[in-house]
Symmetry: C2
DNA sequence: CTCAAGTTTTACAACGTTATACACGCCGTG
DNA sequence: CACGGCGTGTATAACGTTGTAAAACTTGAG
C-alpha cells in the first residue's frame, strides 16, 4: 500500500540506489536518468519513509523543546518562534513540559522522555549546575535563559541583570523610592536570582536602600503567585510605591490585588513586568514590561542546536538576545489621547 | 558506543530475540531467564532504538497536535492536557501551528508536514467539509471543535450552540436586552457560526430581537481583534448593554476598549467570554466565561486517535465534552467581600 | 582498435528491531 | 516407551533507507 524506493525502482526500471540518488540530489546522475526516475516518483506518489532514513542515518529530523509550562504566554510565543525556525531547516519540534520541577528537568535533560530526538532546547528553572555536569548524553543541548556559570552548552538569553536594572531605573526616574520585587524563589532559581540582583544593584547605585523586606518569594510563576506575593507584602504592613515583578503574569496578578485593595496603578503603585506578553497590552491598565526579542531567541536556539549536529561542534557560547523596556500605563499612567496599541 | 540488543545478547549469552522478548514483556520467558537478561540490560544501560522499532512496527509513537495558534492560552492549556494524556500511553506529541489559515490546515491534514506521525489531532478554523472529504491519508485524524456536518472522523467538542445560549441567557436574566456578539467571521468558520447561532436562538427564544447590527465580524481571534470589533460597534453609534465574545482574549480586548471609552463593566455593559483562560481571572474586572473541560478534551482526543491505530477502527463519533458557565465580575459586578480566586 | 581514466549505475551490506517459523526439551498420556 | 502437545528459546528474514565498493558504461588518447 505504501510506496517505497523499491516500487519506484521497479516502475522506472532502475536500481533502488539510483532512485535514492535522485531523491537525495546526488551529483552523478545524468539529467535524462533524473528525469525518468522523477517521473516514476511523481507517478507513484513516493514519499520517503522517515523511520528507515533515521535508522540508517542516525538522525531523526526532530528536536525537542522542553519548557516549564505552556500556560505562560511567553513560552507559547517562544514555542511558535521555535517551530517556525525549525521548519525552515526541515526540522520538526517535539514539545515537552517540565512543570519547572527539578526532577522533570533532570529527566528531560538526560533524554529520558525522547530517545528519538536529534537535539534538545531546554528552558530550565530549577536545574542546577551539577545536574548538567554529569549528563551522560550525546544529544546536543541548548539552554534557554541566562545561567551564571559556565557549562559546556550554549546559553541563549537576554542580559537579565541589565534588563532588571533598566526596569528599576525607570521606576526610580519616576520618583519611586520603595520598589518591591515579586518573584524571588526559595529554591534559588537562577533567573530569579539574576533579576533580584539587578533590582538590588540599581537601587544601590541610586543610593536607595535595597530593602529585603520588599522582596517576596513565591512557589510558582503564575498570576496567582503574583497575587499571593502582593497580598503578602501589603499584609505585612508595607506600602511600596512601585513593584517590579519576575514576569508579566505575576505583575498582572499583583495589579489585581492592588485594585482589590483600592490602590491605583500607577498613581499609588507603579508596576513593571517582564516578558511583554500580549495580555499585558489589554488590561484596564496596560503593563510596562521588559520585552525580549522572542523571534531571535527561537531562531538562535534552533540554529545553535542544529550547528552541533555535525562533527564540528563549535565552542559553547553564551549568546545574548536583544530586549527593550516598553513603557505603558502601569508606570506612565493613562495618556490623554487613546493609546495606539 | 550505543548499546543495542546484540550487545545485551552477547553479554547475557542468549539470542537477540530473547532479549527482545524480555524488553517487550513477552509471555513465554522463564523468570530465571528474564532475571538474567534484565541484569545485562541494566548493566549495559540498554535503551531501545526507536527509529528501528518504528521501522519494524510501522508505528512511530508520535502523534501530532495541530493548532491555529499558541498565543491563545486556551490552546496552550489544551496542549498541556494533550501532552499529559499522550504520555500516559507512552506517546509523544509533536506540535504544529496552522495560523488558522485554510491552506496550512489543508497541508497539515494531508500529512505534508509530518510523515512521521501515527495520528493527528487537528483543531481547524477555516477548513471546509470538502477539504477533508478527499483526504488521501491513512493516518488517523481527530478533529477538535464542533462541526456541523458528518465526516468520517471523530469530533471532540463541547456543544457550542448550547453553551452560547447559556451565556446569552445569563445576560438576559441580568436584564440586558441589547446583547452584541463579537467574533463572527466573514469566512464562515464553523465554530463562530455555531456561537452566533446560539446567540440568535436564545435572544429569539426570550422574545428579544436578534439585531444583526450588533454582530461584529473579525479577521483574527486575538485581543486586538476583540478591541477592534468593540470599537467598530461603538463607533457605529450602538450602545449595547451586554457583549458576548467568541473567546476570552476578544472579550478582554473588548473590555479594554469599554474602559477607554469610560464605560463600566458590568454596570454599563456586561461581558461574557468563552474558554475560561487563566488571564480572565486576574483582570481589574474578572471575566465571566464558558469553561470547557479542557482536561477531558485532551484526554478524549488522545484516546480517540490511539483507538484508531489498531485494525479495528471504531465508528466515527461526535464526542461531547462538558462545560460550565463560570460567573464572575464582568456580569455579576464586584462582590462585597474580596473574591476567592 | 585498445586501453586507461573518468563517469554513471548497480549489488550488497548494514542500521536495530520484531514476526515467523522452527528446534528443543519436558511433560503426561496411550 | 513412543507420541503428541505445550512451553521456552533461537535462527532468519524482513522493515526502507543509505554508504561502500565494485561493475558497467563513456570518452579520448595513443
Amino acid at each position: 500500500m505504501r510506496v517505497s524506493l523499491k516500487d519506484v525502482a521497479a516502475h522506472a526500471g532502475v536500481s533502488i540506489k539510483t532512485v535514492s540518488n535522485v531523491v537525495n540530489n546526488y551529483q552523478h546522475v545524468t539529467p535524462a536518468m533524473r528525469e525518468r526516475v522523477q517521473r516514476s516518483i511523481d507517478a507513484l506518489g513516493y514519499q520517503p519513509n522517515l523511520a528507515a532514513r533515521h535508522l540508517r542515518k542516525g538522525r531523526t529530523g526532530i528536536i525537542a523543546l522542553a519548557l516549564p509550562e505552556l500556560g505562560n504566554p511567553y513560552f507559547a510565543e517562544l514555542t511558535a518562534s521555535v517551530i517556525d525556525a525549525a521548519s525552515q531547516h526541515d526540522y520538526i519540534v517535539l514539545l515537552d513540559h517540565t512543570g519547572g520541577s527539578r526532577d522533570q528537568e533532570l529527566l528531560v535533560s538526560q533524554g529520558f522522555r525522547a530517545r528519538v530526538i536529534d537535539g534538545l532546547i531546554l528552558s530550565p528553572i530549577e536545574l542546577r549546575t551539577e545536574d548538567l555536569r554529569d549528563r551522560e548524553q550525546d544529544v546536543p543541548l541548548v539552554l534557554l535563559g541566562e545561567r551564571d556559570y559556565d557549562l559546556p552548552y550554549d546559553h541563549i538569553a537576554i542580559d537579565n541583570v541589565a534588563a532588571a536594572r533598566d526596569a528599576v531605573r525607570h521606576l526610580i526616574e519616576l520618583g519611586r523610592g520603595e520598589v518591591a520585587f515579586i518573584g524571588a524563589r526559595r529554591d534559588r532559581s537562577e533567573p530569579a536570582q539574576l533579576r533580584v540582583r539587578g533590582w538590588r544593584e540599581e537601587l544601590t547605585a541610586a543610593g536607595l536602600p535595597a530593602d529585603e523586606g520588599l522582596v517576596a518569594a513565591v512557589d510558582g510563576w503564575g498570576h496567582a503567585d503574583g497575587a499571593r506575593a502582593m497580598r503578602h507584602i501589603l499584609d505585612s504592613g508595607r506600602r511600596p510605591d512601585a513593584v517590579f515583578a519576575y514576569n508579566d503574569p505575576m505583575a498582572i496578578g499583583a495589579m489585581r490585588v492592588l485594585h482589590e485593595r483600592g490602590l491605583r496603578v500607577p498613581e499609588d503603585v507603579a508596576v513593571v513586568g517582564f516578558d511583554d506578553v500580549i495580555e499585558g497590552r489589554f488590561g484596564a491598565v496596560t503593563l510596562t514590561s521588559i520585552s525580549p526579542d522572542k523571534a531571535a531567541i527561537g531562531r538562535l536556539a534552533v540554529e545553535s542546536v542544529l550547528a552541533r549536529l555535525g562533527d564540528s561542534a563549535p565552542e559553547p557560547r553564551r549568546i545574548w538576545a536583544d530586549y527593550q523596556l516598553v513603557k505603558r500605563e502601569s508606570t506612565l499612567g493613562r495618556p490623554a489621547s487613546p493609546p495606539a496599541s
